[in-house]
Structures are given as structure tokens and as C-alpha cells.
């Protein structure tokens, strides 16, 4: 589903070049739940941003469903993000003066769905995260854990095939973090591929696959299949 081949990313300023990712090769199959771990500044979030097409790369290639995203126009990338990828952020990134319903509705609007279809999907997503009764609340009226569940509802309402979560429990206490993890596992069991950046070793263990990044290089510790083997399969 996701194939990265010899992918590199360099951040340049006038004075220095920082190699955020070096010659990354990665294959993620449909339905996997992979945890990305590594020290701060190792390139985890950069990799996640590239996978989410929020950021470009300098060399190599990124194939999503067998098609390269390199050279796609802004509108094609937007469409791809909207239809195939859901994002969950550490700080939730909900719009403060939008109701829960309106926040979840945003990506569905960009999909061009009619109002009735949007409503149906929002209600299903809210049902799944257990916040149906709070649909008219503002984010500030919810706890951190509830806000992250809203963010998850927003991410899954469009029924994406990939969920990219950047430290989704980083701002939550342990109880709420556990609830969120259970929710992500539940979503993964429905067939959604999840890549999650985390600093928590327990959460990394709960994912089916653990990918470590150190200094921009990938160290796939579990279930890692060499790219050549995948391509030869």
C-alpha cells in the first residue's frame, strides 16, 4: 500500500543542511498498525508528514497504492489527502469556534458530499468514538481525551484507508491515552492502516509493527520485510 524507495529529505538553510531522512526504504501493507519511534529530531514527524503528503521529499520515491505521488499537483495531492488519508495530531487541531459536528464535517465538505451524506457519516463517527451526545459542544467544553476522540472521528469520518497519528496520546493522561489506543486498535481491526508516531514503548509494543528511526535512518525491528523481497513477491 505504501512503498518508500531510497527516500531522502534534506532541510536547507543558508548556512547548514540537515539530513532529516536518509535513503529510507519502507513497505507498509494494507491493514497494518505500525508504530514509529525514535529520539526527538530523528525524523519521525518528517516521515509522517511525507507519508501524509504535507511535505515533499528531495530524492527517492513514494508510491501510494502503486502510484507515485511525486509531481502531483496541489489539487491532486489535496484530493489524495482527503480521500485516502486521515490525520490525528498530538494537539488535536480542532477549530475552537466550530462545534464538534462542524469540525468533523470539514473534510467531508472538501470531499463534496451532500449534506445528508455528511450528516450520516458524522453520526457514525461520533457513535464510534462515543461522543454522539456532544455533537453541538465546542472543543473547549470537552476534556483532552474527548477532544482527541473528536479528532479521531474527524479523521475516520471520510473512511480513509490510512490513518497517520502523530503522538496522539502525547497530551493525554494515562487513562485517556489507553482509551484512545483502544479506539485506534478498534479502527485498525476494521481494516484501516495506521502509522503512529509515539514515544511510549508500551504503545509501540501494542502496534503490530515497530519501526525505529534514528538520525533519519530506518530500523524496522519487527515484521520488517526487505523491500527487494516485497517487490519480488
Amino acid at each position: 500500500m505504501i512503498t518508500l524507495t531510497h527516500l531522502s529529505k534534506i532541510f536547507r538553510t543558508e548556512l547548514i543542511e540537515t539530513h532529516a531522512l536518509r535513503d529510507v526504504n519502507l513497505q507498509v501493507n494494507e491493514g497494518e498498525f505500525a508504530a514509529l519511534t525514535g529520539p526527538s529530531g530523528s525524523g519521525k514527524s518528517t516521515l509522517l508528514n511525507i507519508l501524509g503528503t504535507l511535505e515533499g521529499f528531495d530524492s527517492g520515491d513514494y508510491l501510494l497504492d502503486g502510484k507515485s505521488v511525486k509531481g502531483l499537483s496541489d489539487s491532486a495531492l489535496s484530493k489524495l489527502r482527503n480521500e485516502k488519508i486521515g490525520f490525528i495530531f498530538q494537539s488535536f487541531n480542532l477549530i475552537k469556534d466550530f462545534s464538534i459536528f462542524d469540525n468533523i464535517e470539514l473534510p467531508l465538505r472538501y470531499r463534496g458530499l451532500k449534506a445528508a451524506a455528511r450528516k450520516q457519516r458524522i453520526e457514525q463517527a461520533l457513535e464510534l468514538v462515543g461522543l454522539h451526545a456532544r455533537r453541538d459542544y465546542l472543543p473547549g467544553q470537552l476534556s483532552g481525551g474527548q477532544q482527541q476522540r473528536v479528532a479521531i472521528a474527524r479523521a475516520i469520518a471520510g473512511e480513509p484507508r490510512i490513518l497517520l497519528a502523530d503522538e496522539p496520546t502525547g497530551n493525554l493522561d494515562s487513562l485517556m491515552a489507553r482509551q484512545v489506543m483502544e479506539l485506534l486498535e478498534q479502527i485498525n481491526q476494521r481494516g484501516c492502516t495506521i502509522l503512529m508516531v509515539t514515544h511510549d514503548p508500551d504503545q509501540a509494543r501494542r502496534a503490530g509493527r515497530h519501526i525505529q528511526i534514528i538520525d533519519g535512518q530506518l530500523h524496522d525491528s519487527t515484521l520488517y520485510q526487505p523491500l527487494a523481497a516485497v517487490q519480488g513477491a
Binding site: N49, L54, S75, F87, F89, N93, D97, P107, Y110
Partner: protein, 435 residues
């Protein structure tokens, strides 16, 4: 449609999010636009073509026929004498021609002797005046010919003022000590700028209340209350009353309609021949100074352009630019504060084009508020200008076309103010805004 409504709902929500920066931006923009609109309105009315379908055919002839010799006097007088008018009228070339001048008097209903006479503005003119300048009649008609006597034509407002109604054809009105029969009532009519009266610097004055026949004025010794020139050393009033038609009294404006280039050429030849014959008769001692000026060039010709308004217009344009710059700066702060939200929207699948739609809706709401505020500012500014320059007080109306132009200007200005900030905000790097 759903997306459009959503975009406008978001634009309105943006006002609530940061009302003070929002209103400051709009207020600065409105100040600039308002000052610009007020001056542009005056500039427009003073410079637009009041008769676009026929202005190319209307000309003001002048000859330098003054009895006093002066070899260095090559410029003709602004006004003509009665005799000049008679001679210039004899060509048979123009499809319409009329002499005129402005005067003033007091009028009242003849049967109401208790009523105090009301001051009225008079235009002494000839039959074709109403054809030359497309003056519409509500009731009755113009005079049958140029020999009309003691017959007057009323403006609609004057008819309502004196009679309380407009259909007063055949009624009598007393002007000074004379009784006149009303032959026509004009419909509402304003010609701005009043180019036929530029020679007197009255291009922004109101039209006359009463129109009197040319010959009647000379019968009664009515003089112009604007331009009157005489080279006769005798008492002007006494002399004019006796010799108004024959003497060297210059107070008339004269307009001709020449529909084709051939007619223009023929009329110029006619003027040359006239001057030649006048010189031969010893009535044109000065150098030839024939002029045939088109109505659109008449303001420059008489150097009657209001330079103060030109200066105001330039200053208001510069002020608008300063306001646009400042509003843009405020707008940049406002949009940069929303940069995170733009990033989020893009992450959720909005293309840059979609974000531009949201910005356009925001700009449209800005423009609408700015338009309303700027029209208010413009009205206040015009009242101030009218106070400083009373001659401009008739130039303060807005036609539908002007309002459309102002709305388009407000929209363009709002977009200019938002363009750079919006591009900065929507084209920023996505990954730095979201964590």
C-alpha cells in the same frame, strides 16, 4: 451553493473571531475609499460628457469684433454682442443655434398682490436652446420662433413652487413689472457639468427657474448678471436700456449644432467671410481671432477647470494608497493568525484553490462593509468640500453606474488589501503549522 453559503458563513464568523483588528482594517480601508469616492464623484461630474450622443456636434463660436482697436488683442471676448449674434445666426448652416445669457429677477402670481415676489434665476435664450441641450418638456412646448415676446417657460420645480402643480401652460406669471404667458413647463432636468455656461464659471450651478425669450430681454433692457462687458464710456444701464441691441455690449453666449465635418468647415468659412466683411465695413479693427470651440473643450478653452478639485483628487488618491498599505499590513497580521487554520484545512483536503474561495468570500464581506462605511465617509467628505467650495454643491449625487463602479472599487481594494496576506497564509509550509 452549499459551499458558497458555507464560505460566507465563515467570513461572518471571522468578524466575531477578531472584531477589533477586523474593524480597524475595514475602517482604514473605508476612510481611504470614502475620501477617494467623494473626490472622484466631484471629479466625475465636472469632467464627464453630459451629452455623449451629440457633444461632438456642439460648438461655441467667437469673433474678435470689438470696435476699440487693439493690435495685440488676438483673443476674442468670452461673450458676444447682440449684433454679433445676429450676424453669426445668419449663416443657415447649423441644424440648431441659440444665444443666451443668465440673469435674475423676482416673480409672483399676478392675482396675488399680497405675495412677496420670489427671487428667480433666469435664462434668456432662444428657441433652439431646448433642442441643443436635449431639454425635456413636461407640458407645452418651446416658443414658436425666435421673435417670441412675453412668453416664458418654467422649470418643473418653479411651476410647483408658484402654482402647486405642473400643468400651467397658458397661465400668467408676473416677472418684475411685466406679465408673461407660460408656454411650456420643463420636466426635471439637470445638465452637469453645465458646459453651456462655462464662460461664466457656472458649470456646476443649478439650471434656471425661468426661461425668457431673447428679444423680450432686449425689449426690456434685461442685462446679464454674470458677464457684461462694454467699450462704451456712457452709463451702462441707461445706455443698455436704449441701445442694448445696437451698442457694443457683450453679454451673450452662443451655441451652434454642426452635425458633420462639412458643416464645421462651412461654418468656419462663414466666420472668416463675416469677419472679412466686418473689417471692410470698419467694424472689426482688431486682428482676426475666430474661434469655434467644441463643447468638450470649452472648460479648458475658458481656463475654467477647477484646479482645487484636481488637487483634492490627487491627494485623495495618494491617501487611498496609504490606507491600502496600512490596511494590508493589518490584514497580514489577521491572516497570519489564521495560518494554522489554513494549514489544517489543507491537511484535511482543501486545495489552495478552495482556500482562495474562502478568502474571496471573506474579501466580499469586507468589501460590502467597507462600501457602506466608505459611502458614509464620502457623504461627510462631500459635505465638507461643499462647505469649503460652495460651487460644488450640485455635484454630489451618485448614479447607479457610479454606485456599481464604487462597489467594484471597494471589492478590488479589499482584494488588493487581502491578496498578499492571503497568499502568505495559504501558501505557507503545512508541516510547520500542525503538530
Amino acid at each position: 451553493m452549499d459551499n458558497l453559503l458555507h464560505a460566507f458563513a465563515l467570513a461572518l464568523r471571522n468578524i466575531k473571531r477578531a472584531p477589533v483588528p477586523y474593524m480597524l482594517t475595514v475602517l482604514i480601508l473605508s476612510l481611504g475609499l470614502g475620501m477617494f469616492f467623494s473626490n472622484a464623484t466631484l471629479y466625475y461630474w465636472l469632467n464627464h460628457d453630459p451629452l455623449p450622443h451629440k457633444s461632438q456636434t456642439l460648438f461655441y463660436p467667437q469673433i474678435n469684433a470689438t470696435l476699440q482697436p487693439c493690435d495685440s488683442c488676438t483673443e476674442p471676448l468670452r461673450a458676444l454682442s447682440y449684433q454679433d449674434v445676429q450676424k453669426l445666426s445668419s449663416s443657415g448652416i447649423p441644424s440648431a443655434q441659440a444665444a443666451m445669457f443668465q440673469s435674475a429677477g423676482y416673480a409672483r402670481l399676478p392675482e396675488n398682490t399680497q405675495q412677496s415676489p420670489t427671487p428667480v434665476a433666469l435664462r434668456i435664450t432662444q428657441r433652439d436652446f431646448f433642442t441643443l441641450f436635449d431639454v425635456p418638456f413636461l407640458h407645452g412646448d418651446r416658443w414658436a420662433d425666435n421673435s417670441a415676446r412675453r412668453e416664458l417657460i418654467l422649470s418643473k420645480a418653479s411651476a410647483e413652487r408658484f402654482f402647486g402643480r405642473t400643468n400651467v401652460v397658458g397661465e400668467a406669471l408676473q416677472l418684475g413689472n411685466e406679465l408673461y404667458t407660460i408656454t411650456g413647463v420643463l420636466d426635471t432636468w439637470t445638465m452637469l457639468p453645465r458646459l453651456y455656461d462655462v464662460a461664466n464659471g457656472l458649470n456646476s450651478a443649478q439650471s434656471a427657474d425661468i426661461y425668457l425669450p431673447w428679444e423680450t430681454a432686449y425689449d426690456l433692457g434685461i442685462k446679464s448678471n454674470t458677464t457684461t462687458m462694454s467699450r462704451d464710456s456712457r452709463n451702462y444701464s441707461e445706455n443698455f436700456a436704449v441701445n442694448g441691441r445696437e451698442g457694443d455690449f457683450f453679454q451673450a453666449q452662443f451655441w451652434v449644432q454642426l452635425d458633420t465635418a462639412d458643416q464645421v468647415s462651412a461654418y468656419q468659412q462663414f466666420m472668416q467671410q463675416l469677419v472679412q466683411s466686418e473689417k471692410e465695413a470698419g467694424r472689426h479693427p482688431r486682428p482676426e481671432g475666430n474661434r469655434l470651440t467644441n463643447i468638450l473643450d470649452i472648460t479648458e478653452h475658458f481656463n475654467a477647470r477647477n484646479r482645487q478639485l484636481d488637487a483634492f483628487a490627487l491627494v485623495s488618491l495618494l491617501f487611498l494608497l496609504v490606507c491600502l498599505f496600512n490596511a494590508s499590513h493589518l490584514s497580514l497580521n489577521r491572516y497570519l493568525a489564521s495560518q494554522y487554520e489554513f494549514g489544517l484545512r489543507r491537511a484535511l483536503g482543501a486545495s489552495r484553490g478552495r482556500l482562495q474561495q474562502l478568502i474571496l468570500a471573506d474579501v466580499t464581506v469586507n468589501a460590502f462593509i467597507a462600501l457602506l462605511l466608505s459611502l458614509t465617509v464620502a457623504m461627510v467628505a462631500m459635505a465638507l468640500i461643499n462647505h469649503l467650495l460652495p460651487a460644488t454643491r450640485n455635484l454630489t449625487s451618485w448614479s447607479p453606474a457610479m454606485l456599481v463602479a464604487m462597489a467594484a472599487t471597494a471589492l478590488a481594494a479589499s482584494y488588493i488589501v487581502s491578496l498578499y496576506p492571503a497568499i502568505r497564509a495559504s501558501f505557507g509550509s503545512l508541516n510547520r503549522q500542525l503538530k
